[in-house]
Amino acid sequence: MVKKLTLLLSALIFSMAVLAADNRYVLGVDGLACPFCAYGIEKRLNRIDGVTDVQVDVGESVVRVALQEGKTLTEERARQAVDEAGFTLRSYSQAEGETGDGDEQ
């Protein structure tokens, strides 16, 4: 019984570690001022290999991007995607943990 519980706990810890290992980035995007425009940024970022989630915060002018473990988003690639959407990359940072609330200039 104790052995089963230990295994279950280990699996849980491992899965949480995998989740936490996702690479998350916070992009500051200038020029973004309406919901309909946000979709263009999502579309361009979602084309990048390994991207699993894109969340646009219009009010803060930031975009949070999550990538699979082992995948990275370089600043150059982020800038290219934002430019292809017609906007301007203001800032780029890799977020800590899952919250990804950093918006370092």
Binding site: G31, F36, C37, G40, V56
Partner: protein
Amino acid sequence: MNSSRRPVKVSVLVGSLLLTGGTMTQAAPNTFNTALPVAQGQTIWREQLVLRERSDDGPMDRDVSVQALVSVLGYGVTSNIAVFGMVPYFFNKELDVAMPMGPMDRIERDTSGFGDLSLFGRYTLYKKDFTGSTFRVAPVFGLTAPTGDDNDSDRFGELPRSLQAGDGAWDGFGGVVTTYQTLQYQLDGQLLYRENGRHDGFARGDETRFDASLQYRIWPRSMQGVSGTPGFVYALLESNLVHRERDQLGSGTDANSGGTQWLLAPGLQYVTRRWIVEGTVQLPVAEDPHGDAIEDEYIVRVGFRRNF
């Protein structure tokens, strides 16, 4: 009496319908263009139902009703270049006209079908992005092809040229549109010139227009504490100042066509990430028609936009 031979001055039907609505497809004014970006590889689809009523106070006492659906597809070739295709489908274009010298007091003439296809491109010449706002300037150039039927007839004979679904001529247009957008409001302005081609002895008068628009976000009332990408509700007020030269008929001009009109259009727009639902009513504030040229009473526009 064959009324089709009369120089019926039902001006601006096709040209104004195309250029006073259903053009570009971003979150933008209802009645003209915007300079906001279309992302590279992004497609935007727009449908706009147009109900237009026109009349005159002249001896012919004409009433014109138009019910049309304007379809637009836009595509971002690059982040700076977008191309658009637009075609109206007329459910009905109807002319109701007095016939004081004829066997009937009034007659009704109508047509339906696809109108002329417009293809145009827009290039973002200048942009300045700020946090939560943007300013853009974009020239626009396009052509209207004579894809609509221009020789429809009824029991009275061939329909008047200006009542046909198409005008039979190639037209060209160009201008510049500018946009300043913030999270709270958006200002758009457009200056556009349209040169209408000649076909079979008839050319609609060339058109110059100046448009302006204010969109003001009324919901959410504040962005404080609002995260993600919520839907916005905008109140709109749009202005269209349009001058049309006289139509050309044979070697002369139609004295009772063209003129200048100023329309104001209040409206509402609900904008989400993927959809826009919108509606406006264009109302004439001032009209200075040439002679007895027909004048607008109102134009209702309702529709949606969807991005892919």
